[in-house]
Amino acid sequence: MSPKTLYDKIWDAHLAHEAEDGTCLLYIDRHLVHEVTSPQAFEGLRMTNRTVRAPDKTIAVPDHNVPTTLDRANAATMTEDSRIQVEALDKNAKDFGIHYYPVSDVRQGIVHIVGPEQGWTLPGMTVVCGDSHTATHGAFGALAHGIGTSEVEHVLATQTLIQKKSKNMKVEITGKLRPGVTAKDITLSVIGVTGTAGGTGYVIEYCGEAIRDLSMEGRMTVCNMAIEGGARAGLIAPDEKTFEYCKGRPHAPKGAQWEAAMDWWKTLYSDDDAVWDQVITLKGEDIAPVVTWGTSPEDVLPITANVPAPSDFKGGKVEAAQRSLDYMGLTAGTPLADVEIDTVFIGSCTNGRIEDLRAAAEILKGKKKKDGIRAMVVPGSGLVRAQAEEEGLAEIFIDAGFEWRLAGCSMCLAMNPDQLSPGERCAATSNRNFEGRQGRGGRTHLMSPAMAAAAAITGKLTDVREMM
C-alpha cells in the first residue's frame, strides 16, 4: 500500500462517493451548529420539505450572540435581533430533534469548546460547523473545518459535503519551547512565517516534539488558528494524551466500543514515508512570546521587537502595512513593549479553556490590574467556569480587578454587548485582529493568556518573562 498522511487516512475512511471528475462526497460524523450561521439553512430545509438526515450526529449551542454578564437570564440583556436568532436556534433544535445545549444549561459555551468537552469530537472523525474556527477539533486528529450556510444546509440534509481533496502540508516544531512560550506563540509564529494565505489549499498536520509536549488544550489552540494561516484544516495525530482526554467524556464510546475505537485510533498517524506537498520546520527554542501589531494575524512579532515600517515589506503588503499602522495608531520604530493598552480580553475558542485560565491566573495571583484598565475573563463554557471557580482561579481574577463572566464568544467578535469603542486598544487572547473585529475602530493585539494577564498589570504590552 502506498504511504499515507493522517489526512489521507481520514479522507479515505469518509469517502462516500467519488465522481469521474474527482468531485467527492465526504461523509460527516459530527455537525456542530450555532445560532448565527444556521437559521437560513433550517429555513431552506423547511422550504424544500427536507429533514435533518442524522439528528443524532448534529449538536447545537448558542454562543456568538449571548450576553456574558451575570444577568443574562433576563432576556432584556439581549438586543431584539440577537434574541430572535437565539430563539430561532431553540426552535430549530426542537423541531428537527438535534442535540442542544441552551443558554440556561451549565454545559453551554463556545461550540468549539463544548464539542470536545462533551466527547462529541473524537479522533479520526470528520467534523464541520458553520464557523471557520472548527479547525480547533483537528487537535484530536479529526478532520475539522468551517463551512458556509449553504453547506450547513447541505450537511443537515445529506450528512455529506461536496469536496475536492486538499494538499498535505507538514508543520514541524522541533525541540522544546522556552519558558513563557505557549501554544498561542507557536500558532501565531507559524502564521508569521506562512502568511495568512500560505495554507490556502492545504490541510496542515502539526508535529514535532514541541507539539507532542503540548496538552490537549494547547493543541486545540494551535489547530484553532490553522484557518488564520488560510489552511482548510489543522491536524495533530492522536496519542495517549488524546485518548486520556476523551476517555469517560459523556459522548465518548465505552467498554468494548472504546476498545474497538482505540484499535483504529492507534493507526491514525502519517506514515514515515508519506509524501508532503510542503514542509515547514520551526525550532521550538527560536519561538518567543509574540504579539500582533497590525490588522492581519500574519502581522506578528516577538514582544521585544519594534513596530515595523511599511518599507520593511514588499508588494501589496507595503500599502497594507501603512493602512494597518494608521488604523492601529502606531508609529514605526516604537518598541512594542511601550504600547499602552486600555482593555484586556481573556477568552474565545482559541484561549478560553481551563489551562488558559490557569496560565493567566498564575501571572495575576496576588496582583492587581493597572487602574483604569478594563479587564474581563470569559470562560469558554459553563463547565470551564465551574472548574475555574473550584480551583480558585475565579477568585484570583476577581481580586485582580477582572470581570468574571459567563460563557460565550463575547469580545472575540463582539456580536454581543462586549465591544471595543473606536480607538480602544485591547490585549486579546482571541484569534483575529481585523479592522473592526472587536468593535468599530477597536484596536486588537493578539497574544497568549499569560501575556494578556501581564499586560493587564502594567497597562501596556509586556514581556511575560519579566514576571516569571
Binding site: A13, A16, H17, D21, T23, L25, Y27, D29, V36, T37, P39, Q40, T48, R50, K57, H64, N65, D81, I84, A88, L122, G124, G130, S132, H145, G146, I147, G148, T149, S150, E151, E153, H154, A157, T158, Q159, I162, K164, T196, A197, T200, G230, Q257, A260, A261, W264, S296, G315, G316, E319, A320, L413, A414, M415, R432, F434, E435, G436, R437, R440
Partner: protein, 201 residues
C-alpha cells in the same frame, strides 16, 4: 440559485490585499435570519462614517462605480470568518463576479453557492485589470464563463481556470443538495458500512 454564464459590466477597483469577511460585512449585520437585504451594508465600515453618511472616497460610493457588477481586488480575498453573509451582501449589492489573485477557501466555495463567480488570475494580469477598472464606468469588462475568459475594455483577453463541477452548477443554477440527494444510495451504503466498522460514531 441564479445562473451565471456571461456578464458585461462595470468593474470596481479595490486594490487591497487580505480583504476579510469582517470588512465585507461587519458582524452587527449577521444578526439576521434572512439571506437578503445585506447589500446596503456591504463594506459598511469603509463605506459609511460614524453618522451613517457615505464616505465619498470609497470606490462603491463614487458615481461611476455605484452600479458595479464586477470587483477587482488584491490577494487572499475573503479571508477570515466563514460567514456566507459576505457573498450574500456582495450579490445583493449587484456584484456577481470577483477577480483577484487568490481567495480564502471557505469564501471561494460560498461564492459558487450564491451565483457569484470568483476568478483567480496571476498578479500581472490583475494589475492590467485593475488599471482597466480604474478607467470608470465607460470601461466595461466582459466575463464569459463557458469560454473561461475575461476581456478588458481594450479587448485584451485573459483565460482563467475553474473547477468543472462548480462551473456546471453555476452555469445551470443547480442546487447542490438536489444533486447530492440523487446519490442517496451511495450515502446509505456508506452509512451502513460505517455503522459496522466505526459503531461509536
Amino acid at each position: 440559485m441564479n445562473k451565471f454564464d456571461k456578464l458585461t459590466g462595470i468593474a470596481a477597483p479595490l486594490p487591497l490585499i487580505n480583504i476579510d469577511t469582517d470588512m465585507i460585512i461587519p458582524k452587527q449585520f449577521l444578526k439576521t435570519i434572512k439571506r437578503s437585504g445585506l447589500g446596503v451594508n456591504l463594506f459598511d465600515e469603509m463605506r459609511y462614517d460614524d453618522d451613517r453618511n457615505e464616505i465619498p472616497d470609497f470606490v462603491l460610493n463614487k458615481p461611476q462605480y455605484r452600479d458595479a457588477q464586477i470587483l477587482v481586488a488584491g490577494d487572499n480575498f475573503g479571508c477570515g470568518s466563514s460567514r456566507e453573509h459576505a457573498p450574500w451582501a456582495i450579490a445583493d449589492f449587484g456584484i456577481t463576479c470577483i477577480i483577484a489573485p487568490s481567495y480564502a477557501d471557505i469564501f471561494y466555495n460560498n461564492c459558487f453557492k450564491n451565483g457569484i463567480l470568483p476568478i483567480a488570475l496571476p498578479q500581472e494580469q490583475i494589475d492590467v485589470l485593475m488599471k482597466d477598472a480604474e478607467k470608470g464606468a465607460n470601461a466595461r469588462m466582459s466575463i464569459d464563463l463557458e469560454a473561461q475568459t475575461v476581456t478588458t475594455s481594450d479587448g485584451e483577453v485573459f483565460s482563467f481556470e475553474v473547477d468543472s463541477f462548480k462551473k456546471h452548477c453555476l452555469m445551470n443554477g443547480l442546487d447542490d443538495i438536489g444533486l447530492t440527494m440523487e446519490k442517496a444510495a451511495a450515502i446509505d451504503s456508506f452509512e451502513a458500512a460505517a455503522a459496522q466498522s466505526r459503531p461509536w460514531v
